[in-house]
């Protein structure tokens, strides 16, 4: 479904990702792990059209999407929930969700999606009239994911969805992501919570200094000595 081939990307002409490759099969959850500053977010930004591809290529359903702008990718079925949530702070929760369906024009369809999200996440519905920047961190994260789902993506990219949440909420978010996957959505996830993420993932990549250095099934990486040492605290 998605193929990243030897991508180099960075900011203002300075590369921070030098050589990253990964492949994502339809219907799977693929994890991207690595230490802080290894270039995970930057790579995702390159995939979603926010950073220039300096070398290499990105194929989505066999078609190159290198250089395609974010807003066009949404229509193609790619949705990203960015690190740090990036909600529209002064809008209500409901309006945030509606903005998530910006590319949909059919009002009935939008309402249908809204209701199905509310069914999945009743707590988001309870808060629908509240201004987004007054929500708690966990609530904001839920809304960010919900907004990302409003465009009915085929590929959902999640950058650190559990950042700053208490363990109980982390479990909840992970269960929710599992359910998203079960509904047929392909998921790419970046996480600090390496163990839980690898357990949930079908396949995973490890990034180091701007390169993808290791890959394997979630289980295989969990058992890998190198990975254990570097990321799993053992």
């Amino acid at each position: 479904m998605l193929k990243v081939e030897h991508v180099k990307t960075g900011y203002d002409g300075v590369p921070v990702v030098h050589n990253a490759s990964l492949q994502v099969e339809q219907g799977s959850i693929v994890a991207l792990v690595g230490s802080n500053g290894s270039g995970k977010t930057s790579l995702l930004r390159a995939v979603t059209g926010a950073l220039p591809i300096m070398r290499g290529d990105i194929l989505y359903k066999g078609q190159s999407i290198a250089g395609v702008k974010s807003f066009k990718l949404v229509e193609m079925g790619i949705s990203m929930v960015p690190e740090g949530r990036h909600l529209f702070g002064k809008m209500s929760v409901r309006d945030n969700l509606l903005m998530g369906a910006y590319s949909v024009r059919d009002k009935g369809e939008i309402e249908k999606r809204l209701q199905s999200i509310y069914k999945l996440l009743p707590r988001v519905e309870e808060r629908q009239r509240q201004q987004a920047d007054t929500l708690s961190g966990g609530e904001q994260q839920m809304v960010a994911i919900a907004r990302g789902l409003m465009s009915k993506p085929e590929l959902l990219i999640l950058d650190e969805p559990s950042l700053g949440l208490m363990p109980k909420l982390v479990t909840e978010i992970f269960e929710f992501i599992q359910r998203i996957k079960d509904s047929g959505v392909t998921v790419i996830i970046v996480e600090q919570n390496a163990v839980a993420t690898l357990e949930m993932s079908d396949y995973a990549y490890v990034m180091q200094n701007g390169e993808t250095v290791l890959e394997g099934t979630g289980q295989a990486l969990l058992a890998d000595e190198q990975v254990k040492k570097a990321y799993l605290g053992g």
Partner: protein
């Protein structure tokens, strides 16, 4: 009493033009964090559209208004694409100053093409005469800026709140990156905002030609007062810009009336200083 009412009325009219300029500045600032120094020049160009529509086609400014708004809207799009969009990729200082350079270019181009002398409408206008209310005499022509300011304020409010494009503009102003992620073309939202602001100034310019002379540098004063109105209203607040514009017009006219015309600007400045000392971020500033 009637002198006061007359002064108040004249003040509101003068303030309406400021309100129109200020709303444009507030829109552009609120959406893309650019100080629009060229708003006064868009007003000037609107006046020239009105002048030539009157001279060549015998049109009244009201009739020329949609034309002027359209011309300035298109010009706004062109200027955004050619100049502003590029500057936005550059360092912050050039983003802030780009419209300043632009305003110079527009003033001198106007001088080159239209001449530097003062002009007034050459053909008689049909929309004229006065309405006598007994306690207040209203020149019909002077109603135009005020009505326009009301209509523009209402339309902007409606547009930003209830239309798809308006919501996209609001979302982009809150978080440009996130806007792209939900499928909004942020560059388009910027373009439309900039062009709308310039169209508003164009329409205001038309209204102004009913009773004001025009020359290439006519925008400068309005521009300056427009900025002050925006600062007073709270940067980025369109409602604030609208109300402050009117308030400044009133302060200006009443000081001229009751104190001395020579120092009438002081009234405006005092109102401004008093406002920002109580509310440093402006009336509607957050």
């Amino acid at each position: 009493m009637s002198v006061f009412l007359q002064g108040l009325y004249e003040g509101i009219i003068n303030g309406s033009i400021l309100a129109l300029i200020a709303m444009g500045i507030a829109l552009v600032w609120g959406v893309m964090n650019i100080l629009s120094f060229s708003q006064g020049e868009f007003l000037m160009l609107g006046m020239f559209v009105s002048y030539y529509a009157n001279r060549l086609l015998g049109l009244d400014p009201i009739v020329a208004m949609p034309l002027s708004a359209l011309v300035l809207f298109v010009l706004g799009i062109i200027i955004y694409k050619l100049i502003i969009a590029r500057a936005l990729r550059g360092p912050i200082l050039s983003q802030r100053l780009i419209t300043f350079a632009l305003s110079m270019v527009l003033v001198y181009s106007a001088q080159l093409f239209f001449g530097a002398e003062y002009k007034t409408l050459s053909n008689p206008v049909k929309f004229s005469g006065t309405i006598d209310l007994g306690f207040l005499t209203i020149a019909k022509q002077k109603l135009v800026p005020f009505l326009l300011a009301l209509i523009v304020a209402g339309l902007l409010f409606w547009f930003l709140r209830y239309t798809r494009m308006g919501k996209a503009i609001q979302a982009t102003s809150m978080d440009r990156y996130a806007a792209g992620l939900v499928g909004i073309n942020p560059d388009r939202a910027y373009t439309i905002s900039f062009a709308l602001a310039s169209a508003v100034a164009g329409a205001a310019g038309c209204a102004l030609t009913y009773y004001y002379y025009l020359y290439p540098n006519v925008g400068a004063t309005f521009q300056l007062w427009g900025f002050i109105a925006v600062a007073m209203g709270g940067f980025g607040s369109i409602t604030g810009a609208f109300l402050s514009g009117l308030l400044m017009g009133i302060a200006d006219t009443l000081t001229g009336l009751y104190v001395n015309t020579a120092i009438k600007y002081i009234g405006v400045c005092v109102v401004f200083l008093v406002t920002v000392s109580f509310r440093p971020k402006g009336i509607f500033g957050k």
